[in-house]
Amino acid sequence: MHILIVEDEARLREHLRDRLRKNGYVVDVAADGEEGLYYGQEFPLDLAVIDIGLPKISGLELIRRFRSNGRHFPILILTARRNWRDKVEGLETGADDYLVKPFRFEELQARLNALLRRAAGWSKPVIDCGPISLDTGKQTVTVASNPVELTAFEYRVLEYLMLHAGQVVSKAELTDNIYDQDYDRNSNVLEVFIGRLRRKLDPDNRIEPIETLRGRGYRFRRETGREC
C-alpha cells in the first residue's frame, strides 16, 4: 500500500513515516502543500494523510485540487482543532476521515486500515474468505478460528491479496505496495513471502488460497470463501 504523508512538523512526519514503513507500507513524505501536490499528481497513491495547517498550499486547498483533478484515493486529515465546523469543512471538501492531534499511532493505524479497506470495496472490517479470516482492525489472521502469526510484511502481502480477492495482482504491483521504489525488483523475496504465507495458512495444501498465474502474478481465490 502506497501512502503519502503531508505534514509540516518534521518530527511528527518522520515518526509517522518510520512507523508506517515498519508496518509494511510504502511511504512518501512531503513537508508542504506544493510538494504534497506533486507527489499526489505524479505517483499512484492508495491513501494520503494530510495536515490541515500546511505552508504554501493549505491542507483543504490541497484536497480540493486533488479532487478536482480526479484523484480519488482516500484522504485522512490531521487537525489540531477539534471543533465541528472545521471537521465538517474538511469532510465536505473531500476528505474521508479526520484525526485530531495529538493522537496515538494505533488510532491512526486503525483509521488508515478502515479507509484502505473501504476503498477496496469491503464495508466490514473483517474479510472472510472461507476458513481464512482477516481482521483489518485488529490486524490479525485466523484460519478456521485458529490464530496465525504473521510478520508485518507477510500481513501486508496477505492483506493486499485479500482486499483484491478474485483479481490478478501482478508481482510488480505487489512489490510496489510493499517496498519503496529503490527495491531490487529482481530479487525473489516476494516469492519467499508467498511461500511462507502458503505454509502458514495452509500447511496441509488443502485449500490452496493463493494461486500463481505464471507470468501474470498471484490471485487470492474467491472460491475459497463464497461469502466474500
Binding site: 477539534r82 471543533n83 465541528w84 465546523r85 471537521k87 465538517v88 469532510l91 465536505e92 474521508d96 476521515d97 479526520y98 485530531v100 495529538p102 496515538r104 488510532e107 486503525a110 478502515a114 473501504r118 464495508s123 466490514k124 472490517p125
Partner: protein, 451 residues
C-alpha cells in the same frame, strides 16, 4: 461631509438662501408693478386736469390751458411735462416746464385711445402717456388733438431703489437670525448624540461601566444595543480570563506528575510509558476543554438566527462519511423553520457532539426531532431531541458522562468530552440538556433553549 451638524446646517442654509432669494425677487417685482401702475394713474389724472384747465373760444374751439393746478408744470425742468399736439403731430402747446427743450412727448392717438410709453430723449428717461381727444365746437365740427403728459423716471427709480435696499437688508437680517436659530436647534437636537459619545469615551477610559444616561427614545435602541454589546464583550473577556486561569492551573498537575516521573527509574518501562501517555491524554483534554469553553460565543447582543435544517444536514453528511461502515439510518423530523437564535458555530458544536455520540453508540438508527413553540410575548423556545437505538446510558452513569473529560467507553474511539462540552455551551445559552431513554431503545438526549 462627515459631520451631521454641518450636513444639516449646509442643507438648511441652501434652502433658506433659495427661499429668501425667491421671496425677495417676488416682492421686488410686485413693488415695481404697483409703482408703475400708480404712476400711470397719476399721469392719467394729469391728463384730466389738463382737459379741465383747457378753455374754449366763442365758437367752441379749444384754447390751451393757461393755468394748471399742478405747479410743477410751470417750473422749468421740474421733471413733469405736458404737451398738446394737433392731429397731424404738430405741437400746439407745451407746459412751461418743457420750455427750451425740443422734446416731443406726444404720440398720435385717435380719440379715446391712450398709450403709455417709456423713452429716453435728451439725456432724460421719461415715462409718458398720450391721450387722443376729439374737441367738438358749436358748429358740430370736430378737431382732433393728442394730449400728452410725461414724467421723469428719476423719482420712480429712487423709490424702487430705496424699497430694494430696505427689502434686502430686512431679508438678510432675517436669514441671519434664522440660521442662528437653526444652528442652535441643531446643537440642541444633536446634544444626546454628543452625550452618548462622551459616555462611550468614559467607558473607554474605564470611568463608567455602561451607557446609563437618559437618552431620547430614538436613541434608546442604539444605546441598549451598545450596552448589550459591551456586556457581551465583558462576558467573553471574563470567560477568556477564567479559561486561561483554569488552563494554566489544571496543566500544572499533569506537568508535576511528569516532572517527578522523569526523576524516577521507571521512566523507560512500558508501565512508565503508559503513565506518561495518560498524562498526555489528560493535558490534551484539559486544553481542549478550556479552549472550547473559551471559544463559545454565547448569546450575542444582536441575536442572529440560524436555521436548524442546513446545519443538521451538513453534520449528517459528514458523519455519514466518517461512520460509513455503520450505514446509519438518520431520520430528521424538524418543525418547518425551526430556528436557533445564537451563533452558528456554537449550534454546530452542540449538534455535532450530540450527533457524533448518537452515531457512535447506535446500532443503526438515529432520530433527530426539533420542535419550536411560541413562548412569552415574542419569544420562541426550541427543543431538539436526538435518540439512537444503542444500549442507552446507565442512569447512574449520567453524571459521570457529563463530567468534563471523562470517557464512558474507553474502547470506542473518540473524545469523552463531547457531551460535557455540549452541555457547557447549552448552559451558556441558558438552556438545558437532559439524558433519558427514548422509544428507539437507546439514549435520548434532549436540548431545550428558551428564547
Amino acid at each position: 461631509m462627515r459631520s451631521l451638524q454641518s450636513r444639516l446646517l449646509l442643507a438648511a442654509t441652501l434652502v433658506l438662501a433659495g427661499f429668501i432669494g425667491a421671496t425677495g425677487l417676488a416682492l421686488d417685482k410686485a413693488f415695481q408693478v404697483s409703482a408703475r401702475a400708480s404712476m400711470q394713474d397719476r399721469l392719467q389724472s394729469y391728463i384730466y386736469a389738463l382737459l379741465a384747465a383747457a378753455d374754449e373760444d366763442d365758437s367752441g374751439r379749444m384754447i390751451p390751458p393757461q393755468e394748471i393746478p399742478e405747479p410743477r408744470f410751470s417750473k422749468p425742468d421740474s421733471g413733469l411735462y405736458a404737451m398738446i399736439a394737433a392731429h397731424d403731430g404738430r405741437p400746439l402747446w407745451h407746459s412751461h416746464s418743457l420750455a427750451g427743450r425740443s422734446v416731443d412727448i406726444a404720440r398720435q392717438q385717435s380719440p379715446g385711445q391712450r398709450e403709455f410709453h417709456l423713452f429716453s430723449q435728451a439725456g432724460m428717461e421719461l415715462y409718458a402717456i398720450s391721450f387722443g381727444v376729439a374737441w367738438e365746437d358749436y358748429a358740430k365740427g370736430e378737431t382732433l388733438y393728442t394730449f400728452a403728459v410725461a414724467e421723469d423716471t428719476v423719482a420712480l427709480r429712487a423709490q424702487i431703489d430705496s424699497f430694494r435696499a430696505s427689502l434686502w437688508s430686512w431679508l438678510g437680517a432675517m436669514a441671519v437670525v434664522l440660521l442662528l436659530a437653526q444652528g442652535l436647534i441643531l446643537r440642541w437636537g444633536l446634544r444626546p448624540l454628543r452625550s452618548v459619545e462622551s459616555d462611550l469615551h468614559r467607558i473607554e477610559q474605564g470611568r463608567a461601566e455602561h451607557l446609563d444616561g437618559s437618552y431620547p427614545k430614538e436613541l434608546t435602541g442604539l444605546t441598549s444595543s451598545l450596552n448589550s454589546l459591551i456586556e457581551h464583550g465583558k462576558r467573553v473577556q471574563t470567560r477568556y480570563r477564567n479559561s486561561l486561569d483554569d488552563l494554566a492551573h489544571s496543566l500544572k498537575t499533569p506537568l508535576a506528575i511528569m516532572q517527578s516521573f522523569c526523576e524516577q527509574e521507571s521512566a523507560h518501562t512500558s508501565q512508565g510509558r503508559a503513565s506518561l501517555r495518560e498524562q498526555v491524554r489528560r493535558m490534551d483534554e484539559i486544553i481542549e476543554h478550556q479552549l472550547q469553553r473559551a471559544a463559545v460565543s454565547g448569546p450575542a447582543a444582536l441575536a442572529r438566527s440560524v436555521l436548524l435544517q442546513p446545519v443538521l444536514e451538513r453534520l449528517v453528511r459528514s458523519l455519514d462519511k466518517v461512520y460509513r461502515d455503520k450505514q446509519v439510518d438518520v431520520a430528521l423530523d424538524l418543525d418547518s423553520g425551526a430556528t436557533f437564535y445564537g451563533d452558528e458555530a456554537d449550534l454546530t458544536e452542540v449538534l455535532g457532539n450530540l450527533l457524533d455520540n448518537a452515531y457512535k453508540y447506535c446500532l443503526g438508527k438515529v432520530r433527530v426531532r426539533a420542535r419550536c413553540a411560541p413562548e412569552g410575548v415574542s419569544g420562541q423556545s426550541l427543543e431538539i431531541s436526538i435518540e439512537d437505538d444503542g444500549q442507552g446510558i446507565d442512569p447512574q452513569m449520567i453524571d459521570t458522562v457529563l463530567q468534563r473529560g471523562r470517557r464512558m467507553d474507553e474502547t470506542v474511539p473518540g473524545h469523552g468530552i463531547g457531551l460535557s462540552m455540549a452541555r457547557e455551551i447549552i448552559s451558556v445559552y441558558g438552556g438545558e440538556l437532559d439524558i433519558g431513554s427514548g422509544s428507539l431503545g437507546g439514549a435520548l438526549l434532549r436540548v431545550r433553549f428558551a428564547s
